[in-house]
């Protein structure tokens, strides 16, 4: 087919008049059954390079993409053009996915998007045996490289698959962010005859700024003063989940419409927020880097980072989501030299100790176990377990195998011993990347050119779109009024304890503070572990404030407190004071019926919840039946203790149980 003929079909089907040269170059090769790696910036129109050939092919084109939001958007768009497209992902019901798979088997679907995790689902594998596959696409192909910014082990399997596919079956890999090193790595992994097509990565509609600050307070203040002056709506990226909460509470306090987003939210909430973002429901969404990968909103007008990313490639990827409509977009990065501690800790602490690797290897060797059993057996944190697991799979020391419904881990006979060299290399490479990111902050040259150079795009443009090349520098001016407002906010903001579950009468409670982000943690530590005496009165004032903020004038029938693991009256004495102030009666009858270990000994929620299971008893059960209960403790970590007591009290007929604690830890092991 020649270009003229193709563009006629393009006009008919996609309502577009012509291809860009690089699009046509790609499509021509695809139509000949060749393999192509296409590196083009966001907004270039990479998806047309597979969507167009897909409609010409007889069979089904399968696209592996990690970006569920993007899949949904593209499916919607294709369907509106009358092209049958569907996506299979973990956010849909199994019935829905089954139906899609069976439609694909019957040849009813031209374009099928699959989230790679799905590849492990046997139903899907089974279906592929009967599907007429005409082309395979690996979207966000940088995910296959450990040298990229977003390596995903599930993509390793896709590469294996690509290498098994027969000659003549076209394969297209696409990415917007690949350095030369990543490009070479992808090409090596995809093997064989691969054509690489690389476009220029320059985004001239960006206005790039770096704002130097000396504290987090200055970031909050600048945003408070200026956020509403920015055009349209946008995204604020923070370094941690807790920060998404703090920033969104700050904007709530300032009455700026905003919402927080992170990967820990349930799918419905995530979809609701993505939709809200599309509809400009908020001035901004505050998110970890979980959001936005592939959100197809053309008019994101600003992207602000409150935390320096790990590397220029992370940064380019994240800001790449702005201004797809080619209109002016503001790209702002806050930088406090202290901020590099967070990425440094990711790099340094990104890998667990070698002894933990050895522990897991031994456990896998001795018995065929699943994730949960291994976590219990090794007392690893779930997050650590997953890092170690992925590394051991990568090094071909263990493998994951499905038995009916359950997944287990096998030791690979004759495997090489653990190699730490790969970790060292990766760490050094990441350290260099971080240094590069700091160079971006400190450069007095064109920031866009810096990014393009870093990404291996050597095109020679004139770049005049940053605060080093003509735009006015942005600075923070914190006046007394704003310092006061921030202080008021700090004393008015209390973390919520989300413990509501079906099957118990627990309701969400509140903590007076986060442990570790204020002086509260220090005070607790002194009293608990350094014989510092009773909890100081400022904690009482703070917790009462938290109580009023969260529960208002609500009254409870009874106060109970969590009995201590070791002897000690701290929580008891504290609860008595709360009871005296709130004038709710207190009962001392909640006890432990067996010795438990301190929860902090356990690294993961499975063991924590085993530790306290059936460990509590109330001497006078009649006391709680039909009552509303305020349950007091000092520190809330995984919530296993509160949930266990909540379950127990619910069974005894308690009508409502609400936790109230002094501090909530940051980053408890989430299960």
């Amino acid at each position: 087919m020649d270009r003229h003929e193709a563009e006629r079909i393009l006009q008919q089907t996609f309502l577009l008049s012509h291809f860009y040269d690089e699009q046509w170059e790609t499509i021509e090769k695809i139509l000949l059954g060749e393999r192509v790696l296409l590196i083009e910036k966001t907004g270039f129109g990479k998806s047309l390079c597979f969507q167009f050939p897909a409609i010409l092919h007889n069979g089904t084109t399968v696209i592996f993409s990690p970006l569920i939001a993007l899949m949904r958007d593209q499916v919607k768009k294709l369907n509106s053009l009358g092209i049958s497209a569907k996506c299979v992902n973990c956010e849909q019901s199994p019935e829905e996915n089954s139906q899609i798979i069976s439609d694909a088997k019957e040849g009813k679907i031209k374009i099928l998007y699959i989230a790679p995790e799905r590849q492990e689902n046997s139903e899907w594998i089974e279906a592929t045996r009967q599907m007429n596959l005409s082309m395979l696409v690996v979207d966000e192909a940088h995910c296959i490289s450990v040298w990229g910014h977003d390596f995903r082990p599930a993509f390793r399997r896709i590469i294996n698959l690509v290498n098994l596919l027969p000659k003549g079956l076209p394969v297209l890999a696409t990415t917007a962010t690949a350095t030369k090193k990543v490009e070479t790595d992808i090409a090596r992994q995809m093997g064989g005859d691969l054509t690489i097509i690389r476009g220029n990565l320059m985004r001239d509609n960006f206005k790039l700024y770096v704002i130097r600050v000396n504290s987090d307070d200055e970031k909050l203040i600048w945003l408070g003063q200026n956020l509403e002056k920015l055009p349209g709506s946008g995204i604020i990226y923070t370094g941690t989940r807790v920060d998404t909460e703090i920033y969104s509470k700050w904007f709530e306090f300032l009455k700026v419409p905003s919402t927080g987003y992170n990967a820990g939210l349930d799918p419905e909430s995530r979809i609701a927020i993505e939709n809200g973002l599309m509809n400009n429901q908020w001035k901004c969404v505050i998110s970890t880097n979980a959001l936005g990968m592939g959100i197809d909103k053309p008019d994101i007008r600003f992207i602000i980072h409150t935390q320096i990313p790990q590397s220029p490639i992370h940064y380019y990827q994240e800001i790449g989501r702005a201004g797809r409509d080619n209109q002016t977009s503001y790209i702002i990065l806050f930088y406090n030299p202290a901020d590099k501690k967070l990425p440094e800790s990711f790099i340094e602490g990104g890998r667990p100790a070698i002894s933990k690797y050895e522990k897991l290897i031994e456990a896998v060797k001795s018995e065929l176990l699943g994730e949960r059993e291994l976590i219990k057996k090794t007392n690893l944190k779930q997050a650590q377990f997953r890092v170690i697991k992925a590394d051991l799979i990568e090094q071909k020391i263990i493998r994951e195998v499905s038995f009916k419904k359950s997944k287990k881990f096998e030791y690979i006979t004759g495997a090489q011993p653990l190699s730490t060299q790969a970790f060292e290399e990766l760490r050094e490479s990441k350290t260099r990347d971080l240094e590069k990111m700091i160079e971006y902050v400190e450069t007095n040259q064109s920031r866009m050119k810096f990014l393009c150079d870093y990404l291996g795009d050597n095109s020679t443009h004139t770049f005049t779109n940053c605060d080093n090349t003509g735009l006015k520098k942005l600075v923070v001016s914190a006046n007394d009024e704003w310092i006061k407002r921030l202080q008021d906010f700090r004393e008015d903001y209390f973390p919520v304890l989300e413990v509501e579950t079906k099957g118990t009468n627990l309701i969400n409670g509140v903590a007076a503070s986060y442990y570790g982000v204020s002086n509260v943690g220090n005070a607790l530590h002194r009293c608990k572990y350094e014989n510092g005496g009773d909890f100081p009165d400022f904690l009482l004032r703070l917790i009462l404030k938290a109580y009023r903020k969260h529960f208002g004038q609500e009254k409870f029938d009874l106060i109970l407190y969590v009995p201590p693991t070791k002897s000690g009256e701290l929580v008891r004495n504290f609860a008595v004071k709360v009871s005296q102030t709130l004038k709710f009666p207190i009962s001392h009858s909640l006890l432990k019926n067996r010795t438990t270990n301190e929860q902090k000994v356990f690294e993961n929620a499975y063991l924590k919840s085993d530790n306290v299971k059936d460990a509590f008893v109330i001497i006078t059960p009649d006391e709680v039946s039909g009552k509303t209960i305020l349950l007091i403790d000092d520190i809330f970590d995984s919530g296993a203790t509160i949930k266990e007591i909540g379950r127990y009290l619910s069974n005894l007929g308690a009508e409502k149980i609400a936790p109230l604690v002094i501090a909530r830890t940051v980053g408890g092991d989430l299960v």
Partner: protein, 379 residues
């Protein structure tokens, strides 16, 4: 070879091609024309026809297989990810013993394995026998397995009840090495992989199948597996055989093809066909597997056996007759002048895998369609 996995699965799956035809084709493109399987699959149809003298139906089969390559690639990816390995007949990893014993006529083109595949290259023995063998036979099996394990010989068995299972359990017990030859596709052996996890990790067990990876157990596959067990072993020990079934026909075949087969010398009070096999040329062995060259099975004992003596002659006569058409049991008795009751004959025919029952009234019997008939080991 991994790169070619989908092609090999496709080739091994060609419907009703038979080992000989498949192996001839492989010899032709791989050895004579020095083509990879990938190159062969991508030859123009004309080359298939002219150079390889393939017929219309064969080419249609190949085209269909080719169209399914992408599907097999997905299957292969799953398999490799879960630690299964595919061993084509063209690779040095393929068991030499198997190739030499089965030759082009019967050697499967592709082996699916999981575990320590090096085991396939060690010296090996098979211990075979019936599913409901007597205690005596199981003790013999255990003892032979122990002796073999001490001599670092690998024990090949078929994962059936009775002797097979004993052979495996004993090999594991004596820290020997084993090959389990599956009567099913290798991906359907989940519970077995869980059960023998430690042995597989330790490198002491290899699980092997020659069937489509997802094929469930079937009687047909169980029969088709027997030649593989015999083929993988340099020596064959028979613990106990009745006068029909897999063990019996395997040994009779083997003897015809001059393979060394050791049969446990039965005690005088045993009711099995071991003596019969010894009479037919198998070598009697004692409890420790030592040949008893001077042993002659007592003819009286054979006469005492509850056998339809001489069964073999009857068998051959009956099979010859059935090759000529379909007969009722009454016809057969009349034509061959057997002194059996019809019921006896019907029961006898029921157990014969070579015989097909035609559902008419009265029932008729004929020989199984030659294409469907299980290949005997040493034809």
């Amino acid at each position: 070879m991994n790169k070619e996995a989908a092609y090999w699965i496709a080739l091994a799956q060609l419907p009703r091609w038979g080992h000989l035809k498949l192996n001839k084709l492989i010899i032709n493109f791989y050895h004579e024309n020095k083509l990879s399987i990938e190159d062969f699959f991508h030859l123009p149809e004309n080359d298939w026809k002219n150079q390889y003298a393939l017929e219309y139906k064969d080419i249609e089969d190949l085209k269909k297989a080719k169209s399914e390559l992408a599907n097999f690639a997905f299957l292969a990816e799953t398999m490799l990810n879960e630690g299964y390995e595919l061993i084509p007949i063209t690779t040095p990893e393929y068991s030499k013993t198997l190739k030499e014993n089965l030759k082009a006529a019967h050697a499967p083109a592709l082996l699916y394995v999981k575990g320590n595949k090096q085991i396939m290259h060690e010296e090996s023995i098979a211990i075979v026998g019936s599913r409901n063998a007597a205690a005596k036979s199981l003790e013999f099996t255990d003892n032979i397995a122990q002796l073999a394990s001490k001599q670092y010989k690998v024990i090949v068995s078929g994962f059936a009840k009775g002797v097979d299972k004993q052979a495996l359990d004993s090999a594991i017990n004596y820290k020997g090495q084993s090959i389990i030859v599956l009567p099913q596709g290798i991906m359907t052996f989940g519970s077995g992989f869980q059960k023998y996890y430690k042995q597989i990790v330790a490198g002491d067990v290899l699980v092997l199948s020659t069937f489509f990876p997802k094929a469930p157990w079937s009687a047909e596959l169980a029969m088709a597996r027997n030649p593989i067990i015999y083929g993988l072993a340099s020596e064959i020990y028979v613990a106990e055989s009745s006068d029909k079934g897999g063990t019996w026909s395997g040994v009779v075949d083997g003897l015809r093809k001059n393979r060394l087969i050791y049969v446990r010398k039965p005690d005088s009070n045993e009711n099995n066909a071991n003596n019969l096999l010894i009479q037919k040329g198998a070598i009697a062995v004692d409890f420790n597997g030592n040949p008893l060259t001077l042993y002659l099975p007592p003819s009286t004992q054979i006469n005492q056996l509850n056998l339809r003596e001489p069964a073999v002659d009857y068998e051959n006569k009956i099979l010859e007759l059935l090759k000529t058409g379909a007969y009722t049991s009454k016809d057969i008795i009349k034509k061959l002048q057997l002194n059996w009751s019809e019921k006896e004959l019907r029961n006898y025919l029921k157990g014969k895998k070579e015989v097909e029952t035609i559902n008419k009234k009265p029932l008729q019997y004929t020989i199984v369609d030659a294409t469907k008939r299980q290949k005997t080991l040493f034809d």
